[in-house]
Amino acid sequence: MTMSASVMPAPAPVSSGSFSGQSPASDERHLLGLEGMSRDALLGLLEDAALEREWLRSGAPNRADLAGCSVMLAFIEDSTRTRMSFEVAARRMGANALTFNASASSLNKGETLLDTMRLFEAMGAQLLVLRHNMSGAPAYLARHLRATGVINAGDGMHEHPTQGLLDLLTLRDAWNGEFEGRRLAIVGDIVHSRVARSAIAGLTTMGASVTVCGPGTLLPHDVESLGCTVAPTVEDAMEDADGVMALRIQKERMEGGLLPSLVEYAREWGVNHERVALMKPAAVVMHPGPVNRGVELQASVADSARSVILDQVANGVAVRCSVLKRSWLAWKEMA
């Protein structure tokens, strides 16, 4: 036993002290979020998705890029467009796409999420596309499943990276490929929105800026640290913007005491023609869907020439083709 009176070292840095070895975020089999992805990686995915979009539009027969790949589509939370979009993408690329029906599953018999997902792994699913109402669920599975690539199809209030990518692809078209100097206004329920978090991460990485606005009850604490600015009114946010994204207002927000009424919301924060007119002439109107017509978006604005809402949907299939390819290539390299 030595009792040397050595020099006191500085305390160890305050670190995460995480148990979790290597970070799943750097493993390309997974797509957990846009936060932390490089500009080059984003650009690569967007360029590839633009090509896939041409191919999808051409009506050419299905390809075999994902031949041999089983993709488990596990939507533990309801979804129509994202699930179908992934399914179309997976089938067009030649994958074996399986849909997991959560409501009729052993998840309802008390099996844990991890145990259920381990079943898919054991059955040979190489990629897991997960929608879950819990923030961090995909990161959690990426850490605990050894042999499966995890693609986040929306987790709680965290991220929705393929939505972020399709928004980037839509804006790339609208902005002629130029992100620098451009600004998107995001209006509405920021605090609960995984769409907003992915959009902010993607756009700021690409060099564009983001202004958010919404009722104080729907803005997260310290939202500026995500890299966006906050405007006090929807007019301030939209003035001279290059685009606006209206977020869906859910009725539960009224019950939670976060909003007085939908009527008040539509009046104060709804995206209408007068407000759209404040933006630059070529600015576009976006919405991740499904739209509450007359609440966050005036119906005629949703149907106007400014609206790119259906382009967003079409772009969704293209970016999901690219994302599935990326994960599958990385999976084969690791295997």
């Binding site: 036993m1 009792m3 040397s4 009176a5 050595s6 006191m8 070292p9 500085a10 305390p11 160890a12 305050v14 670190s15 995460s16 002290g17 995480s18 148990f19 979790s20 970070s23 799943p24 975020a25 936060e35 844990t112 999420l113 991890l114 819990m134 923030s135 961090g136 669920a137 990161a139 959690y140 605990h144 987790d155 709680g156 209030m157 965290h158 991220e159 995984r194 978090r197 997260p220 604490h221 310290d222 939202v223 640290s225 995500l226």
Partner: protein, 438 residues
């Protein structure tokens, strides 16, 4: 005749002087004038001898949750951390809310305890916040304080009645300070990291508002309030204000609040999930300031063991809490004493004399006649935290793999060793020949 133990040439925790302390028959005794034939000698140059540490806030999980911890494993972990006494929280299954359960805990601890165990009893029946538990009978049965820890006493009126009713027991009510309407379903500190991860936040105000409420209720009733595991800058201010007003309000904080911030949650690390949550850097600095200026009355660990399975759940579903008994002293030395925030004697006082005074526990010192509840530690020895070596059943620590400074060598309760570090080798014990002593 029992064997005398000599702690030879050790550093006195308060004076810093080199001393030799003798223990016989469970108490500290004067050094023998003549030689002593059957003394075992522990000699560690530079090691500090202090009264055994006291932790006023641990979860031993018995009755009912012995998968997480038992009184035996929890107190064994405490002994390894240098503790000779712990006060255990009543949020067990069932809740310790009757004199019978208080007696059960005491009885159980007598058979399996590596430390003295002081039960804390519930304030309200089932900790439901609706009806007072039999506070006087539980005090008579041996409870040292009352708490609905794990839950706040949500209703101000109920807290008022509890303080009034507990007044003639002289025992404090320990507040788990959290406004349930502000807490809602938060899982981590409300701040940038929660915003980034999309996790629901627990705001500072949920804690500080209740601290201020209970300070005012202490004034109204004259009852004693002890604020548990304070984490937020505004809560330290609330405690400071209460003292300025001369109210019977005291408070504790825990090592993780002066070491870590909410950034430790990183990528949904459930080992950084506890309640109250890790806060911001501003709060961490305020915590250290409140310790340094004397606002904080004592330290505690809020040792909260859970099974690995429970902590391996997704972040929102994983239970709150981390273990703390086996890292507390090292984190105190590494992050408060060695960087110069606090003198060693003061840091130790907050783990020894201060909690004993607060809960009216028997005093311990190194003078002859004192109960031999002692800890011997090397303040400079470095070691790496390895949860697999914990005596606690809980492995849930955010400090796994951390290199820390300050290591417990031996813990003694009532003259018997309850922990010896592996490097304390009894092969080398000396049986002194007579006349070896002065």
């Amino acid at each position: 005749m029992s064997t005398m133990t000599l702690f030879k040439n050790v550093v006195h925790w308060k004076t810093g002087e080199k001393v030799t302390v003798a223990v016989e028959d469970g108490v500290v005794v004067s050094l023998p004038k003549r030689g002593h034939e059957h003394a075992r000698v522990l000699e560690f140059t530079g090691a500090v001898l202090a009264p055994g540490l006291v932790d006023l806030h641990v979860h031993l999980r018995e009755p009912g949750q012995s998968g997480k911890e038992t009184i035996e494993t929890g107190t064994r972990a405490a002994a390894a951390g240098g503790f000779t006494a712990v006060a255990c929280m009543p949020n067990t299954v069932p809740v310790v809310d009757t004199p019978a359960w208080v007696e059960w805990v005491l009885h159980r601890a007598k058979g399996a305890g590596y430390t003295r165990v002081y039960p804390i009893a519930a304030v309200t029946q089932g900790q439901k916040g609706e009806q007072l538990a039999p506070l006087q009978a539980m005090a008579r049965a041996g409870a040292v304080a009352f708490s609905d820890d794990g839950h706040p006493v949500a209703s101000a009126a109920m807290m008022r009645r509890a303080l009034e009713y507990a007044r003639n027991t002289g025992l404090p009510i320990i507040g788990h300070e959290e406004d349930p309407t502000l807490r809602v379903d938060g899982v981590m500190n409300e701040g940038f990291t929660a915003t980034r991860l999309g996790l629901r936040g627990l705001p500072n105000a949920a804690e500080s508002i209740m601290c201020r409420r209970d300070a005012d209720l202490a004034e109204l009733t004259g009852g004693r309030v002890h604020l548990a595991h304070l984490s937020a800058a505004q809560s330290f201010d609330a405690l400071r204000d209460a003292k300025r007003r001369g109210l019977p309000v005291t408070g504790e904080t825990c090592p993780h609040y002066w070491v870590l911030t909410d950034e430790a949650v990183g990528d949904y690390d459930t080992h950084a999930k506890m309640n109250p949550p890790l806060r911001s850097e501003v709060d961490r600095a305020a915590c250290i300031a409140a310790i340094v200026d004397g606002t904080i009355d004592c330290f505690a660990t809020d040792h909260a063991p859970h099974t690995s399975d429970e902590k391996a759940r997704p972040f929102a579903e994983a239970p709150f809490g981390i273990v703390g008994l086996e890292t507390a002293l090292a984190l105190t030395l590494t992050y408060l004493v060695h960087p110069g925030h606090l003198p060693l004697a003061r840091a130790l006082e907050l783990w020894t004399d201060a909690p004993r005074r607060l809960f009216n526990l028997p005093e311990v010192d190194l003078e002859p006649g004192s109960e031999a509840d002692l800890v011997l530690f090397d303040p400079n020895a470095e070691w790496t935290v390895d949860p697999d070596l914990f005596f606690s059943k809980g492995r849930n620590t955010p400090f796994a793999g951390w290199s820390v400074k300050g290591r417990v060598l031996a813990t003694m309760m009532g003259g018997r060793f309850t922990h010896l570090a592996p490097e304390v080798d009894f092969e080398h014990q000396l049986v002194l020949p007579a006349r070896d002593q002065k």
